[in-house]
Amino acid sequence: MDVIETLKTLWNDSGFQSFFVDGGWKNLIMIAVSCLLLYLGIVKKFEPLLLVGIAFGCLLVNLSYFGPGSSDALYHLDLWDNFLDPEHENYHSYGAIMSHGGLLDILYIGVKAGIYPSLIFMGVGAMTDFGPLISNPKSLILGAAAQMGVFLAFFGAICLGFTGQEAASIGIIGGADGPTAIFLTTRLAPHLLGAIAIAAYSYMALIPMIQPPIMRALTTEKERQVKMEQSRTVSKTEKIIFPIIVAMFVILLLPSTAPLVGCLMLGNLWRECGVTERLSDTVQNALMNIVTVFLGISVGATTAASRFLSLETIKIVALGLAAFCFSTVGGLLVGKLMYKLSGGKINPLIGSAGVSAVPMAARVSQMEGQKANPKNFLLMHAMGPNVAGVIGSAIAAGFLLAVFK
């Protein structure tokens, strides 16, 4: 055995050697980024259920993928590039991915096919009580208003030189809805998925820091102190009929929303109908956890250094923040309008909850309302716009998908 030759082979096969070849240093930066994301997820508790998985997926891909020759990588960007290239023999071939891909390539098929986001929506539906929205349908207007950031960020992205498909994917960050952002991006601009998913989930975690200054700037002390009347009690029959009506209406309006809205409403029907408690329990807990594991790690895998470290990522991060802020502004402005029209009966703070991010945004409305008036309980009133925002962002995604697919 030639020891020197064996050592050379081991060195050439090792990942350490790859850091010193062309572009390998970028992987080192991404490894540092993944450690930062792990810190934010574990220590600062920023959306830990997803961010820890995303960060570790990011770490794994940047430890194993250094370019198209990385045969032992867990995720292969080049395979997915071939998958998307109409000229290539493996165009839209899941078989090629299964044959040549690594573990994360195979898990990523669930993202690419839109399975994980839809199943997450099913779990969200099973966990959501739409009662506050049914008792106060005006909440839907606030949910619509809070999609302003989606379309302003879309416009901003076009101004910064992104294509229509990329701009649509960036804009949807403003919907503050991770599964919707992933669903739309995998269909329109899969090469931006890593940056968009990380931006969306990071900003959702930062809602308690992003929204309050905007809420205080746009509302007066008097408006924030408004105590809202208790909403009517919603009957069981109404709660059962609601998901059926919404599914029929929204899917007929925008068929491209069928996977998201269909799964959201099916999950909710299981919750409310009272005869499928086992299914509702499974979807809310076991299935949701399993899908979260797969979704987090496979989305993190898309952050390979050669793709992620670019000026585009910085632009996406900035546009994502702007989208969140403008969505909050949109909800608050319409909330103020409702305050005026209702003669001061509606607290405009509930408008900011229209950015989905259930239930974080509603909690922020509650906290700000209670700061202004300790006797104020806005949580249930804010849950209406909050869940309306989920439907609103799905409609916005459906519109963008219909226009740009």
Partner: protein, 134 residues
């Protein structure tokens, strides 16, 4: 481990993927954004109207049910002098105990449970009537 010669090819594919989408003019983008925002508003506005209609239907149904039960309650005192006579006694009614829609075996079981819960002998308790609440 790394085939450097193919890196350039990957970057070319990346660029192609980036270029694949349509470049929109700022005017087109503004129209798309306004139109999209309007579609979201219109969709949720119509949904709101549908919810108001279903809500109104259920509220009126609930109000009707309340009115019916209130009417029953007000009618009850008027018919008070002969309430028991109006209702048919169930088979098994004996002595002072009157059973309404309750089989005698169930009545015996209920009396036994009540006696057990109260820790009193059954012969010290006086049952007047047992009626199934529907």
């Amino acid at each position: 481990m790394v085939d450097i010669t193919t890196l350039a090819a990957t970057e070319a594919v990346t660029e192609a993927a980036t270029e694949k989408g349509d470049k929109l003019s700022i005017g087109e983008a503004a129209v798309t954004a306004i139109f999209g925002y309007s579609v979201v508003f219109a969709g949720l506005l119509v949904l709101m109207i549908v919810l108001y209609c279903t809500g109104a239907y259920f509220k009126s149904k609930e109000a009707k049910q309340k009115a019916d039960s209130a009417a029953e309650k007000t009618a009850a005192p008027a018919a008070a002098p002969a309430p028991a006579a109006a209702q048919k006694l169930a088979p098994g009614s004996a002595g002072h105990v009157k059973l309404f829609d309750v089989p005698d075996k169930e009545a015996a079981m209920i009396m036994a449970i009540v006696a057990d819960k109260m820790q009193k002998p059954l012969n010290e308790l006086h049952f007047i009537s047992i009626k199934e609440v529907k």
